[in-house]
């Protein structure tokens, strides 16, 4: 039942104005009046449950009250003192499973205070004024190397600089920001916000950056540990999981979603990306949802996302699944890919086997199969930590748990002067906001270490 024609993968499926409209801000910001109305819905709870649900513990009732009194700058400062990437978090946090999920307004009316949008309102207001609200403590003359300029690294660097230390950020890429710059869905962070935020973070002073510097290639951990007083690793996850199917590497049209998204994020003309007419996405997380929706927005006609377990097992939240469906993505559950079928070196079809849980709760195939015709297949079945740059040739290797860096509650690794945080550590929840918190916690631990060592 193979398709005969050549695969239909093409750029420019939609008109430029359609592309532009498709990649606009999905949640347009609140204006002043809406912010006032929404902020008045907050009860100013005592010991507020929403604060507990924010990984960075932003004092939510306090900042919302400040918006309501017209003290928007104060609100922004309150947010940023807990979370220096409060602007990005406001755009990308799955608030439906974090702060807003715990808002007491859910109990009686199923409609939480829109914390994320209020947070964005306040931080955007401050950033538009082009000022940096914090000042640095007296210089300590201590030097800290931060490897990886994603959310974890930026947060750590900023807090260290605030505390008076000098920081150098090393990053393999050309731009800082990590997945804020290369991963987050385009319509969540429009107008080059990620770079504006990097500039905002660096405006504290005391942070120098070395981009295009890759740990394991241009620098080694041993050198950093020797040349700096402490090291923070915020490396993220640079490996992608493979399907483990024949033809995965050879057939054209089988694409790694994360790198495709990176290209999409960097492209000034989104319409220049080539996308299939019929697309299959395999996976169940953020990446799967984002690539499925973005292919639709690029003009793919038919996008089917296939996940091997139940809707509630997907790491993409119910809200994100709904968002994909609203955008015309078909989601199929309980099926796993078993065969890639190609023709003339290009993928044309994916065969899936239906799955279920056996009586011991393990995922098993039922033997029943079906296949989906396609022009393009996106793999989005998770990323993994690449250990080599860290442990490859090091004198002393770092402990790992489940393939990621092991840390204690202070984000300290098994090595004497090395801390780590964000997606690359074992405790990671793979959220931007968690990276920010990890970086902040680590910065304080490093500060205590440096001052104690004095």
């Amino acid at each position: 039942m193979t398709q005969s024609a050549a695969p239909d993968i093409a750029a420019g499926r939609l008109r430029p104005d359609e592309i532009a409209a498709n990649f606009e801000d999905i949640k347009p910001p609140l204006d002043g009046k809406r912010a006032l109305i929404e902020s008045s819905r907050c009860y100013f709870c005592h010991d507020a449950p929403c604060i507990e649900a924010c990984p960075t513990s932003i004092d939510i009732p306090n900042f919302i009250r400040m918006i309501n009194t017209g003290n928007t700058l104060g609100a922004a400062e309150k947010i940023l003192e807990a979370n220096i990437l409060g602007g990005m978090c406001a755009r990308v946090c799955p608030t439906e499973i974090l702060c807003e999920d715990k808002c007491v307004r859910n109990t009686s009316e199923d409609k939480p205070v829109n914390i994320g949008m209020l947070q964005r309102y306040a931080v955007d207001h401050l950033m538009e004024q082009g000022r940096h609200p914090f000042t640095r403590a007296a210089p300590t003359n201590m030097r800290v190397a931060v490897v990886g300029g994603g959310p974890a690294g930026l947060s750590c660097a900023h807090r260290l600089a605030t505390l008076g230390h000098n920081v150098t950020i090393f990053d393999a890429r050309n731009k800082l920001g990590g997945l804020n710059e290369y991963g987050i869905a385009t319509y969540k962070t429009v107008n080059n916000f990620a770079q504006a935020e990097v500039d905002f973070v660096l405006a504290i002073g005391g942070i120098s950056m070395k981009t295009g510097q890759m740990l394991g290639r241009d620098i080694t951990l041993d050198e950093l540990r020797r040349d700096f007083d402490a090291v923070f690793l915020g490396l993220g996850l640079s490996g992608v999981n493979a399907l483990g199917l024949d033809g995965e590497e050879q057939l054209s049209g089988v694409v790694d979603a994360v790198s495709y998204i990176a290209d999409l994020r960097q492209a000034t003309d989104k319409g220049s990306l080539k996308v299939g007419r019929k697309v299959v996405v395999i996976g169940g997380g953020n990446t799967a949802i984002d690539i499925a929706v973005q292919s639709r927005k690029l003009g793919a006609e038919d996008v089917t996302l296939v996940y091997r377990r139940a809707p509630e097992n997907m790491s993409a939240t119910w809200h994100e699944q709904e968002f994909a469906q609203i955008n015309g993505v078909k989601i199929k559950h309980w099926a796993r890919p078993v065969r890639l079928i190609g023709q003339n070196g290009a993928v044309r079809e994916v065969e899936f086997e239906r799955t279920l849980l056996d009586d011991r709760g393990r995922l098993v195939g039922t033997g029943e199969t079906f296949s989906i015709l396609c022009d393009q297949v996106f793999k989005a079945i998770g990323q993994r930590f690449v250990n080599d740059p860290v442990n490859g040739k090091a004198r002393e290797s770092i402990d790992l748990i489940d393939g990621k860096i092991a840390v204690n509650e202070e984000m300290k690794t098994s090595l004497a002067n090395v801390w780590a945080g964000g997606d690359c550590v074992a405790s990671g929840t793979d959220l931007t906001v968690q990276g920010v918190e990890d970086g902040k916690v680590a910065a304080h631990a490093i500060d205590r270490y440096l001052r104690g060592a004095n």
Binding site: K33, L36, I37, S39, S40, Y43, F44, C45, H46, D47, A48, P49, N68, V104, R105, T107, S108
Partner: protein, 424 residues
Amino acid sequence: MADLRSSFLGIKSPNPFWLASAPPTDKEYNVVRAFKAGWGGVVWKTLGEDPPIVNVSSRYGALHSADQRMIGFNNIELITDRPLDVNLREIKQVKRDWPDRAVVVSLMVPCTEQAWKAILPRVEETGADAVELNFGCPHGMSERGMGSAVGQVPEYVGMVAKWCKQHTRMPVIVKLTPNITDVRKPARAAKEGGADAVSLINTINSITSIDLDIMAPTPTVDGKGTHGGYCGPAVKPIAMHMVADIARDPETYGLPISAIGGIANWRDAAEFISLSAGTVQVCTAAMHYGFKIVDDMISGLKNWMDSKGYATIEDFRGKAVPNVTDWQYLNINYKSIARIDQDKCIKCGLCHIACEDTSHQAIAKMKDNGTRRYQVIDGECVGCNLCAHVCPVPECISMVSVDTGRSYLNWTQDPRNPMRKAAE
């Protein structure tokens, strides 16, 4: 179905809802719209001597609640700025076209017998049902010896009421100013002067806000502001106290009252009527939402009366008056404590922090394996009510009475009262 018809000083209206003397009743156009919408009566915007006064711009200030609704309203407008003739002609026309509605004319002229004697026959000629003497406006007119400048001196109130009774056969209503320490004094004076009724309250002296950019009060007139008259929902508690004071004062007991001040819905109206008001007057709520709010006032009051078995307004008018008393007669042995309905509680913690930080440390904050729980400590609760007021969930915290086993005892009888008169 409850009957809302009202007869106040013999003035009939299909319901007790009148529009107070203010912009909504400034001219025929507005009043006709109000009658079409269903209002029972109007007190025409205050008339004065010609030439008409001149107003400034701007004129209004406001206090907003967090959700941007006006809860307090202030104005620096004066009485009508239209010629007397024009007003009288329109009043006559309206009364002729709407004979079943109450049309009362508000007046304010200089404090001389001649001035009142001159204007009263001209009003009478319109066929209006009554006059209301505006002794209330606290701004502008008072600087000219009128309005609250008269209302604040009981002897003047009595004197003018007397002149009016002498020079007209229309019923005379005296509108009282709240800008006075004891409102019973002008009310007594009005009664002694022969007034048929009092209406209250007029507006309260106020400055609603300062514009911090230009450092001037609002409303601002070319960089300067002045105090104005305050009204709207925020003044209702003050108005209620004043109405109750007159209702239970032995010297004015039974004097008809038309209540005014912060009335915005049927419930506000019912409360004032329970304090013996015969009619209620509305200004701010109409200026905020338009005349249509009378729909809810009519249907809400009817439905509530039906639910209570009251057939007419008279059935519940004044019913709350006997329960308004002085502090010293409250039962000191009565005890109530707060009860939290745990099923309704949304765990906002506001009751706890209010009681903990500012009151009696009587609400415990607990965590049953991760779940918040707020619980009243009965022994510590003094029944102050603070928690019930700060709780955002309706009927979540209630005050329940506790049987103390002790019978009624008031402060005059209490052995702990050092000033207690020895028992006879």
